[in-house]
């Protein structure tokens, strides 16, 4: 049984991997987080700066856990800039997990949204036939392509990369490629994580085709354990009831794809 911690435990950064000019993976030893279910997240404390929710990334070594971070604002940049030997605090794991269905499945990730999908791929069943669709702006920003091929080498799979400027892989958005794929192939499930507008399109597409779909959502998080209310969406708490929701629920949501909450709790449009 996985143990859930609510107090940060301090971990030392053992390795930093540059994925792209703006994305890095940091590796720590944490046997609890190393074994979490696909889709779960942790609250990561950057002492003196902030604490951010982060999906738990896979590693290729036993007992190690990782986070893959894109530098954006002050806090993610501070996490990105940490060096080997420096410390972070982690608490978790929190949230639910993807429901991995049998058969042909497709994973659609945008940017660091690929993180929980990599764990999903690692946990996939031997019988799964897996397509991973990776979306990014340009060639520079493509990551995890080789890693995905490595972890899926024993399974039937394909990895399709798209770039918005066409500098690598297929030109365009992942949603365009997905639309084409579902015309020709009968998929049993679609899993997605990335920008909400992208996920919204994917969920609509899947629902219209009657394909089972799950999306992992992002909201402003403070406690991560369902007491502060900052991550609420309609009547659910994304940290506690999610972060993964299925297409049926998302289709009924007034907020998904349209609004999210600012730090004060005010609803803002996407």
């Amino acid at each position: 049984m996985q143990s859930v911690s609510k107090t940060p435990s301090i971990r030392t950064i053992e390795k930093v991997i540059d994925e792209t000019p703006t994305v890095r993976t940091i590796i720590i030893s944490d046997s609890n987080l190393a074994n979490v279910l696909p889709g779960q997240f942790a609250m990561v404390w950057i002492p003196g700066v902030n604490e951010l929710p982060m999906s738990i990334m896979i590693t290729e070594e036993n007992g190690k856990a990782a986070f893959t971070v894109r530098k954006r604002g002050v806090s993610s940049t501070a996490l990105y800039d940490l060096k080997v030997g420096q410390q972070i605090g982690v608490r978790g794991p929190y949230g639910n997990a993807f429901d991995i269905r049998d058969g042909k499945i497709v994973l659609v990730g945008g940017g660091t949204g690929l993180v929980p999908l990599m764990r999903l791929a690692k946990f996939a069943k031997p019988t799964n036939d897996i397509t991973i669709l990776m979306g990014s702006k340009s060639k520079d920003e493509v990551f995890f392509e080789n890693l995905a091929n490595r972890i899926l080498k024993d399974k039937k799979h394909q990895v399709i990369v798209t770039t918005e400027d066409g500098s690598y892989g297929e030109r365009g958005f992942v949603t365009d490629v997905l639309e084409r794929l579902v015309q020709n192939t009968k998929f049993d499930a679609i899993y997605t994580c990335g920008p909400e507008i992208m996920m919204h399109k994917i969920v609509q597409l899947a629902n219209s085709k009657g394909i089972f779909v799950q999306a992992s959502l992002e909201r402003m998080m403070k406690c991560g354990i369902g007491i502060c209310g900052s991550c609420c969406m309609d009547e659910v708490l994304v940290c506690h009831d999610g972060t993964i929701f299925d297409g049926k629920f998302l289709a009924s949501s007034q907020e998904f794809g349209h609004t999210h909450r600012a730090k004060s709790g005010i609803l803002e449009n996407y």
Binding site: G89, I225, I227, G265
Partner: protein
């Protein structure tokens, strides 16, 4: 006969004894609806200020042995935004919690709620980690009387003062609220507290000092409810560390007319309300009580 779980807190009546405490899950009407359906008698909003507040950087909430430490910094969307959001509310008894530093601010906020269905106002006189509001107001009995009486003069709904343990004897704060015309008292808020990470030697909360809640503060809260109801004739809502029906009854026997539940939601989620209702109902059947009010203050016989 099924026992009657309804409670009266002065002029205020609720169908069930446990309500959601302020600051917990309290920013959206849909979530309030869900908590009400799960068995809460009422919900208290996050403490609202005149303007929206972002609150402090994380870590703002962490678990510790015996409960939680928090310094959220009263992040909230502001009273005008919140009032607009709850305009459509018909079903849920919502207690609006307000925080501010002078009477004028409170009057402005109450005015925002004119067209809304508000069950009561709870004035936060006890937040331990935001300067110039909360405990600093509660520690100034003259100001408390002024604020409560101003709110009483403009509010249609009853007014509850929420007290905590500051530098002034909290019984003086209670007295000041009564002098201002408060209809009830909620006791207690979190206790000023701190946690330090031993490996990094740093305070864990970004604000360093925050409030302690959960099982660790229950005996203190029970004592306060007992003392307030022994000294003054005012209904009290007990708050602090309630997570089971036994905890709820302990507060009722100490003199509470109803109770609030906060931190326990982090462990038992909102099922806690249904469990408290069922446990109290079974106890009442076994001990042959028909109403909750028959049990209020029973510990004072001894």
């Amino acid at each position: 006969m099924t026992p009657d779980l309804s409670v009266s807190i002065g002029p205020i009546k609720f169908g069930r004894p446990a309500m959601l405490a302020s600051g917990i899950l309290g920013i959206s009407l849909e979530v309030f609806n869900r908590i009400y359906r799960s068995g809460a008698g009422a919900v208290v909003s996050k403490s609202l200020s005149k303007e929206p507040w972002e609150g402090y950087p994380n870590p703002t909430i962490v678990g510790i042995k015996g409960g939680y430490l928090n310094a959220v910094g009263l992040s909230n969307p502001g009273a005008p935004y919140f009032a607009n959001m709850i305009k459509s509310n018909k079903d849920v008894p919502i207690i609006v919690s307000l925080v501010g530093s002078i009477e004028d601010e409170f009057e402005f906020m109450v005015q925002q709620f004119e067209g809304c269905n508000v069950a009561a106002y709870e004035l936060n006189l006890s937040c331990p980690h935001v300067e110039k509001v909360g405990l600093e107001v509660g520690d100034d009995p003259k100001l408390v009387t002024k604020i409560v009486s101003r709110v009483k003069s403009v509010a249609k709904a009853p007014v509850i003062g929420k007290v905590g343990l500051g530098t002034t004897n909290y019984l003086d704060t209670v007295k000041a609220a009564i002098d201002g015309g408060a209809d009830a008292i909620t006791a207690i808020n979190t206790l000023r507290a701190m946690g330090i990470d031993v490996e990094t030697q740093r305070p864990i909360l970004s604000h360093k000092i925050g409030g302690l809640s959960g099982p660790a503060i229950k005996p203190v809260a029970v004592r306060c409810v007992y003392e307030i109801t022994s000294k003054y004739d005012i209904p009290v809502i007990g708050c602090g560390g309630v997570s089971t029906w036994e905890d709820a009854l302990e507060f009722i026997f100490a003199g509470a007319s109803a109770i609030q539940v906060g931190s326990a939601i982090g462990d038992g989620w909102i099922d806690v309300f249904g469990n408290i209702n069922d446990g109290i109902a079974n106890y009442m059947k076994k001990k042959e009580y028909s109403k909750i009010s028959e049990m209020v203050g029973l510990a004072k016989r001894f």
